[in-house]
């Protein structure tokens, strides 16, 4: 009996596929996006007992409805993209840096501290340069510490970088308590260190900087020796060692790059956007970046698309939630649904699912034929 069972074809068969065409993969992703939209509409219709189309119009109205909303979308996209670029080299090296939030926060703290302590003493241009150096240096220090520990003592970088996030948050609160002697915990807008406004829109400078960094990181990863080395280390440390790559050096160097980019994030947040220091300033982007980078398969150019998707959804769903007066949990549900659909669709891109819904007899017949074929093949191989 057992033998007969083993011969039976299962109802659903899952097989790995590597041959999927780019267009087909894109098609599956598009279907997932539409499916998520439909799901979002259904959830809204259930919650509000009404028109699901209103949800779609709010989604777009909240993101593209006015020039100001488009600028906000572009700025948030740029900032998410930048921090996603920051984690990417480490991820490609299979170094799970989930400390981007903290690395950006110490950048925020360093830039803010420069304004607070020497803002009055030096001209604004010089101040911005000093802020830049301080923020990048702080980001590097925060990232390279777990990097060194990983390289020399093989400590677990996931836990290490995660804990460094909380240390950074507490450091910020500690300094705010020192700076704000009234005890309110609110620093308010700092007077100095504001970046110049280009083209009448404060967002343009940020967008230009991020565009340049995106291009540089893309070239670094795909065209430079460093980029090649870190992907070899990611594939197999032993192979890397065998072909003469200094793994320790690559780990530390890559974390320096990660940290520097996170420091840049902190600098832009303080000097280009908020002009203040709070522990919420990075707003969880350091964690969202992991998703953005992963979904884009660590490709900086794809990352523009995934950052856009995340930013678009957040902004659109928040607008919809406020318009429906449903509160923050509604937008979280909507964004969650999208990620659920999009991550699920990656499964269908990587695996082929075959259903066997034909009658039992046919199945048996087919199984018999298949078995014969296999036997023939084996025979041929043996003879060959």
């Amino acid at each position: 009996m057992a033998k007969v069972k083993a011969n039976k074809t299962p109802l659903v068969r899952i097989s790995k596929r590597t041959d999927i065409s780019g267009w087909k993969a894109l098609g599956i992703r598009a279907i997932a996006f539409v499916a998520a939209l439909v799901l979002g509409g259904i959830v809204t219709a259930i919650l509000l007992e009404g028109n699901p189309f209103k949800f779609y119009s709010y989604l777009f109205e909240g993101t593209f409805g006015t020039p100001r909303r488009i600028w906000k979308l572009l700025q948030d996209l740029a900032m998410l993209l930048l921090i996603s670029l920051a984690v990417t080299p480490a991820f490609k090296m299979r170094f799970w840096n989930i400390g981007a939030e903290g690395q950006a926060l110490v950048g925020v703290l360093a830039a803010g501290a420069m304004i607070f302590y020497i803002g009055d003493a030096v001209p604004n241009g010089v101040l911005i340069l000093i802020m830049a150096v301080a923020a990048v240096a702080a980001g590097i220090i925060w990232a390279v510490i777990p990097g060194i520990f990983k390289a020399y003592f093989n400590t677990n970088e996931t836990l290490f970088t995660l804990m460094m996030n909380y240390v950074a948050m507490c450091l910020i609160n500690y300094f705010i308590n020192i700076w704000v002697t009234s005890g309110s915990g609110v620093l308010g807008v700092l007077a100095g260190g504001h970046f110049p406004v280009i083209g009448g829109q404060p967002q343009i400078l940020t967008i230009i900087i991020v565009a340049v960094v995106t291009a540089l990181v893309a070239v670094y990863l795909s065209r430079s020796k460093h980029g090649y080395e870190l992907s070899v280390v990611g594939e197999s440390e032993n192979t890397a060692r065998y072909i003469g790559i200094n793994v320790k050096k690559v780990v530390i160097r890559t974390m320096i790059l990660s940290g520097a980019l996170c420091g840049l994030v902190g600098l832009l947040l303080v000097g280009g956007i908020h002009y203040t220091v709070t522990a919420d300033l990075v707003g969880g982007n350091g964690f969202t970046a992991i998703l953005v980078s992963w979904l884009a398969k660590f490709n900086p150019i794809y990352m523009i698309a995934t950052s856009f998707l995340v930013t678009f959804l957040n902004q659109g769903a928040t607008f919809a939630a406020d318009s429906f007066r449903l509160g923050g949990s509604f937008s979280d549900i909507i964004v969650g649904l999208f990620f659920f659909a999009i991550i699920a669709c990656e499964f269908f891109i990587n695996y082929k699912v075959t259903f066997n819904l034909k009658s039992k007899k046919k199945d048996e017949a087919k199984a018999a034929i298949v078995t014969e074929e296999v036997v023939e093949e084996v025979k041929e191989e043996v003879q060959g």
């Binding site: 005890g183 609110v186 928040t318 949990s329």
Partner: protein, 396 residues
């Protein structure tokens, strides 16, 4: 045929013009925007949002005329949200969190034709920006009254052999919180003269875990009654679990704490909203610094929970004492911060310079003790009482 069509189109256009002109009348295109730090899951924001609907109902505004933006952080997002509300046609924009202030002030400068009102802020009275206003309420009076209710409960516990020690979970060591816990303490002290209080700060306005832990820590240190100035349900929930009576803030917590909840004080923002909206609709100036009081119905107490008292007579006595004190506060015969009721370093104070005006160093600049009492919220709506008085110990 073309002529007929042209005439029909002309008539249609005129009709549309007429309709739109009529629509412009009687404030039908009037809009008000609200910016909230969190959403209704925070008791602080829920208190603001409930008041919005109350004011909307009282003024007969339509849903389209009220735009609420929730979960707006205390960063540039606040400026963007305010500007977006202006884009949507709001005539007045209100923000509810202390850290929103700098960004609201910037928006006021950039959009001079729109009014910007900010709760809990300190800058309007000396910022000299005509369309930027602050508002607060004399909530220290409400806390004092809630303290009287707590004092009666404490007396019951002391009669049963407990120590006269209470605890307070505070958000930040900031004047707003110091003013709040001191007024609560003085309310309790008016009933139980030898009471002492310990205060633990969470350094966050909303941190459920930290508030819970702080309450538990205070209870472990011997506090037999707890109050709070932080925005989650953390402290009241911890008290219910430990069966420790408590006084909450921002509204009743009786649903989760039926046995331990005594009373709650809260600011009712509806009177200010109505005032602010009417001013803008009538083209009148809004006060740069508006302080709501018990008289304006801005300071409210929830119903006293008699179940929290062992004896029904104590609950009645507490209610009577509250009523008496409330009347005395209103007619001016009672001052919460009467300098005869507290000492600082063993001494009664006769003068005190408080930080009222805006400067980055928080310099004390204004004499605030007049006629033997600390005049809270008279120089500016946001509280400035930041004296550490005897009997209260800050743990951190």
């Amino acid at each position: 045929m073309k002529k007929v069509l042209a005439i029909v189109l002309c008539v249609a256009m005129l009709a549309a013009l007429g309709v739109s002109l009529v629509a412009c009348n009687d404030n039908a295109d009037f809009k008000v925007g609200f910016i909230c730090l969190h959403d209704e899951n925070s008791t602080y924001d829920k208190n603001f949002i409930d008041a919005i609907y109350e004011a909307q109902k009282a003024l007969g505004l339509k849903d389209e005329q009220i735009i609420i933006k929730t979960n707006v952080p205390e960063g540039n997002e606040c400026y963007v949200a305010a500007a977006d509300l202006v884009d949507q046609g709001c005539d007045v924009v209100f923000a509810n969190s202390f850290g929103h202030e700098s960004y609201m002030l910037q928006a006021a400068k950039d959009f001079p034709e729109v009014q910007f009102c900010h709760a809990t802020g300190t800058m309007a009275h000396d910022a000299n920006v005509a369309n930027f206003q602050n508002a607060f309420a004399s909530i220290y009076e409400g806390r004092y009254l809630a303290g009287i209710a707590a004092g009666h409960k404490l007396q019951e516990l002391v009669n049963g052999g407990a120590a006269a020690k209470i605890g307070y979970v505070g958000a930040f060591p900031y004047a707003e919180v110091v003013s709040g816990y001191t007024s609560f303490y003085l309310g309790v002290k008016s009933v139980v003269a030898n009471v002492t209080m310990e205060v633990q700060f969470t350094n966050s306005w909303y941190d459920e875990t930290a508030e819970k832990n702080a309450a538990n820590n205070l209870i472990q240190r011997g506090a037999v009654l707890i109050s709070q100035h932080a925005d989650s349900w953390g402290a009241p929930t911890a008290c219910e679990q430990a069966n420790v009576p408590n006084v909450s803030y921002n509204g009743s917590t009786i649903s989760n704490c039926p046995n331990t909840y005594i009373i709650s004080s809260r600011i009712n923002w509806a009177p200010y909203y109505e005032y602010m909206i009417k001013c803008v609709q009538n083209g009148e100036d809004i006060a740069a610094d508006w302080t709501g009081t018990i008289a304006t119905n801005s300071v409210l107490l929830t119903d006293l929970n008699a179940a929290a008292y062992a004896d029904a007579a104590t609950a009645t006595a507490a209610q009577n004492a509250i009523n008496t004190a409330k009347a005395a506060l209103q007619n001016g015969t009672l001052e919460v911060f009467d300098c005869d009721t507290f000492t600082v370093g063993g001494q009664t104070i006769a003068t005190y310079m408080a930080d009222v005006n805006t400067d980055s160093a928080f310099t004390p600049d204004t004499q605030v003790i007049e006629n033997g009492a600390f005049e809270e919220s008279s120089k500016r709506s946001a509280p400035y009482f930041d004296i550490r008085i005897d009997g209260i110990t800050c743990l951190n």
